[in-house]
C-alpha cells in the first residue's frame, strides 16, 4: 500500500477518531503496526500469518502442493512447543495471558499483559518463528486434536455452520472444518509441518500489531532483533474450480442436543476485489444487512413481536479464501417460516430500495459501532492485520463509511442476494420427529 516503505517509519493520523498508527516494514518484509494508547494498563500483541484452514493447495517454486485438511490448525497447536519447553507456560509465568486461533484465512498468536511487555513480545516472536517438532510430539498431538475434533462435532453451532457451507459450496475448502477430521490429521507428519511453516511463516507473509502505552521504536527494534532476516517466497493459492452462484444443495438438517431448533440460511456472492474497494464493499454490505435484518429492521421487529425469533437473530457477510457469502440465523420454532420471511423481505427491498430514514439511521449506528470498536485492543489489532492481508486499512472505515449511499445498498440487494439461490441448514432437538 502507498504508505508502507521498507525500513522507514510512517505515522498515519486518523483525524475523525483522534488516533494515530506508527508503522514500519522491516527489511525482511514484515509490517509492524504500533497503536499507542496512553493511560491504559494493558498491553496487547498480535502476530499473525496470512495462512488458514482453507490454504490447502498452493504453488511454490513453480510446483503445486496439496496438504491434508487441518494442517494450519495443527501447526498452531504445535508452535507452542519449543526446544526448551513450552511457550504457553513461559508466557503465563511471566504475567502474560497468551492465546491463539486459526480461521479460514489466518493463524494468529496473541497475548495481553500489564508488565514485562518487551520480554513477552520477544518470547512470542521467537516461538512463532522457530519451529520445533518431533514425530513423537506430532503423534501425541494427533490424539489431543482428535479429542477436540470429536468435541466440536458434538457442538450444534459447528454442525449448523458447516452444514450450510457444504450445502453452498461444491469445491471451495471453506466447506471443510478448519480443524480437519480425525482421518485427515492422521496424515500429518513432522515433515508436513516443517514444510508449511517454512512457506507460510516467513516474515513477508506475516504481520505484527501491538497496542497499549508503548514506544514504537522499541517495538520495531525488538522485532528486527528476534525475527529471521530473510524474506521468503509468496505462495500462490488455489481454492478449487470457480463456483456457480447456485448452491450445491438446498438444505441440510440434523437432530442434536438443543432446546429449540436453530437455523442458518445463506447464499453465495461474487468474491470481493481486494484493496480499498474491498473495505467499501464490506461496509456497504454490513449496512444493507442491518437494514434488512438488524434489530431495528421491520423484519426483526415483526418476527420478534410474533415470538418467532429471539434477540440472538443475526446476519453477517463473510469473505475471504476466494469466496464471499451472506448468512442469517438464530433460534426459532419455525425455521422454514422465518426463512420464507427473509426471502420475501429481500425481494421487497430489491424492488423498492431501502427506506431513506432507516438508511440514514443505520449509517449513523455503523459509525458509532466503528468508534466503539476502538475501545478494544483485540478488535483494533485483529482488524488492522486482517485488513493488511486483504490490501486495505480497516481504520479508514469511518471515512469510507461517509461515502456510502442508498444506491450502493440497493445494488447489494439486487446483485448479491438471490432468494432463489439460498440454502438453509437446520438443527432440530433430538426426538422431535
Amino acid at each position: 500500500m502507498d504508505f508502507y516503505v521498507i525500513n522507514q517509519m510512517t505515522i498515519k493520523e486518523y483525524e475523525m477518531i483522534g488516533e494515530k498508527v506508527f508503522s514500519l516494514v522491516l527489511p525482511n518484509g514484515l509490517p509492524v503496526f504500533v497503536y499507542p494508547k496512553a493511560g491504559f494498563h494493558r498491553k496487547y500483541a498480535f502476530f499473525a500469518t496470512d495462512y488458514g484452514g482453507a490454504d490447502r493447495r498452493f504453488q511454490l517454486s513453480g510446483k503445486w502442493n496439496d496438504t491434508p485438511e487441518g494442517v494450519a490448525h495443527f501447526l498452531e497447536h504445535k508452535m507452542f512447543d519449543t526446544e526448551e519447553g513450552n511457550a504457553l507456560a513461559l508466557l503465563s509465568e511471566n504475567g502474560a495471558s497468551p492465546n491463539a486461533f486459526t480461521s479460514n484465512d489466518m493463524t494468529a498468536y496473541h497475548f495481553t499483559c500489564i508488565d514485562n511487555f518487551r520480554e513477552n513480545l520477544e518470547t512470542l516472536l521467537s516461538f512463532v518463528s522457530v519451529p520445533y517438532f518431533t514425530q513423537e510430539s506430532v503423534e501425541k498431538e494427533q490424539g489431543i486434536i482428535g479429542q477436540e475434533i470429536r468435541m466440536v462435532e458434538d457442538d450444534p453451532e459447528h454442525c449448523l455452520y458447516y452444514g450450510l457451507l457444504k450445502a453452498l459450496y461444491k469445491h471451495n475448502p471453506l466447506r471443510d472444518s478448519v480443524a480437519g477430521t480425525v482421518e485427515s490429521i492422521a496424515n500429518i507428519t513432522a515433515e508436513t509441518l516443517y514444510g508449511c511453516h517454512k512457506i507460510f511463516y516467513n516474515p513477508s507473509n506475516m504481520a505484527l500489531c501491538v497496542a497499549g502505552d508503548l514506544q514504537p521504536e522499541e517495538i520495531f527494534e525488538t522485532a528486527e532483533k528476534i525475527l529471521p532476516k530473510e524474506r521468503g517466497e509468496s505462495p500462490l493459492r488455489d481454492y478449487g474450480p470457480e463456483e456457480t452462484m447456485q448452491p450445491e444443495s438446498m438444505s441440510f438438517t440434523a437432530a442434536m442436543e438443543v432446546s429449540r431448533p436453530i437455523f442458518l440460511a445463506g447464499c453465495k456472492t461474487r468474491p470481493l476485489p481486494g484493496g480499498r474497494a474491498n473495505l467499501r464493499a464490506e461496509l456497504v454490505n454490513a449496512i444493507a444487512l442491518d437494514i434488512l435484518a438488524g434489530h431495528s429492521s421491520p423484519l426483526f421487529v415483526r418476527l420478534y413481536g410474533d415470538g418467532l425469533v429471539s434477540t440472538d437473530f443475526s446476519s453477517s457477510f463473510e469473505s475471504g479464501s476466494g469466496a464471499a457469502f451472506t448468512v442469517f440465523g438464530g433460534e426459532t420454532n419455525e425455521p422454514e417460516r422465518v426463512f420464507d420471511e427473509i426471502k420475501d423481505e429481500i425481494r421487497k427491498l430489491a424492488s423498492r430500495g431501502p427506506d431513506r430514514g432507516l438508511f440514514d439511521r443505520i449509517k449513523k449506528a455503523a459509525l458509532g459501532g466503528h468508534i466503539r470498536m476502538l475501545n478494544s485492543f483485540e478488535a483494533i489489532c485483529g482488524s488492522l492485520v486482517g485488513s493488511y492481508f486483504r490490501g486495505y486499512d480497516a481504520l479508514e472505515s469511518t471515512e469510507v463509511l461517509a461515502t456510502v449511499e442508498p444506491e450502493d445498498v440497493l445494488a447489494f440487494y439486487r446483485d448479491s442476494l438471490s432468494p432463489d439461490d439460498m440454502a438453509i441448514s437446520i438443527i432440530t432437538p433430538k426426538g422431535e420427529f
Binding site: F40, R42, I114, S296, S310, G368
Partner: protein, 424 residues
Amino acid sequence: MNTVTTGELTPGISLTCVSSEKFKTGCFSVNLVTGLDRESASATALLPRVLRRGTEKLQDIEKIAAALDELYGSYSEPVIRKKGEMQCIGFFADFPDRRHLPGGVDTLKEVAAITRDLLLAPDTQGGCLRTDYTASEKTNLIDDIRASINDKRGYAIDRLIEEMCAGEVYAVQKLGSESEAEAITPQSLTQRYKDLIAGSAVKFFYCGSEEPSRVSAALGEAFSGLAPRPGATIPPTSVLLAPPVSPPRRFTESLDVTQGKLTVGFRLGAAMESPDYNTMTIFNAIYGGSVTSKLFLNVRERLSLCYYASSFIDKHKGIMLVSSGVEFANFDKALDEILAQLDNIKKGDVSEAELLAAKRIAVTGVKSAMDRPSGLEELYFDSSVSAVHYDPEKLCENIEAVTIDDVVEFASGIETDSIYCLRD
C-alpha cells in the same frame, strides 16, 4: 489516572463518576437495589425486560432501536444482577463520546433521556404495564430459566447453591423460578414496579470524558422523577459463619451427561466477621482461582483428575464454591484432593512464589478491569453495595500488602458445607 467522585443526586440516590479521557465511549448505569426474595425475584427480573419493550413516547422496540441508532448506535439495555442476597436491576447505557461525533451530539444527555423514559415512563394500558409485552417477555424469561440446564457446569453450581442454602434467601436464583414466573400478571408486575421505583436504594455509575458536575446535572435532571428516599439502605445479606449441619451434606443427581460435575460448597468462617477482601482475593488465587493455583496445578495438572477445577468466592455471602469436571470413577479421588489442598493452606504450606504469582494475577485482573468501561462499572457497583467499604482505586496497593500469614489465618476457619455430584 482516573478521577473518581462519589456523591448523592438526592437523598438515597448515589452517583459515582469515573472521569477518564481514555475511552472512545461514555457509559452509565442506573441500578435499583432490593432484597432478594423468593416470591418477587422473577417479577423483579422480568421488569427491566418488559420496560425495555416500549415507553409512552417510543411505544415499541422498533421506535426505541430507531432512537438509539439515531444517536450513533447507542445502547440502553436491561441489567439483572444477584449480589449476595440482593437483587439489582436497571439499565446499562453505552454511547460514542461526543468528541468523536459529527456536530458533537450530546449523547450523554440524549441517552439519559431515553433511559429515563424506559425506567420511569413505560407504555401502559389502563394504568398497568402492557399485557402483550408482559406475556411475551414472560415466555422469554421462562425460556432462559429452562435453558440453564444447557450449561452443565453452571447448572451444577446453581443446584449446589439451592441445596446448600435451602432455607436461606441466597438459594433463590437471579432470574427466580419458573413457577413464580408463571404466576406473574400485568397487575402484579405493575405493583412490583411501583414498589421498586418508590422504595429501593438507587445507584448511578458513570464513566467517560465529561466533567462530574456536568454528569451530575445531566443525570440529576433526567431522573428527577425518582423521588428522594432518605431512609433507603442497601439490604443486608445474612452470613452463616459455619455449616448449619455436620458432617458435610452430599447431593447426587443424574442427567444424560458424558462428563461428571463435582461442586463443593464451603462457609468462610470467622474471617467473615470483619472480612478483608484483599486477603480473600489472594487466598482464592492461591487455592483455586488461577492457573498457578493449587487446584489447577495438583488436581488437574499433576493428578489429571479433572478437566477443570476452580474456586470462587461470593464476598457478600461468605461462601466459596469449587467447580470441577470429573470422570464419574474419579469423584472420590478428586474430592479428597480438593479438600487436601485446602488443608495444606491451613497448615501453612504456601510458598513465597505462590503468593507472588497470586498477587500478580490478582493485580492484572483489577488493572485489566479498569481498562474497560464495563469493568469499571462492575468494580464500582460491587463496592457500592458491599457491607465493608473498599476503594477500587486502592485495590492493587492493598493486594500487594497481603502476607502468607494473612492467607493462612483466613483459611483456618473455612469448613466444607455441601457436596453436589452430577452424573449419568
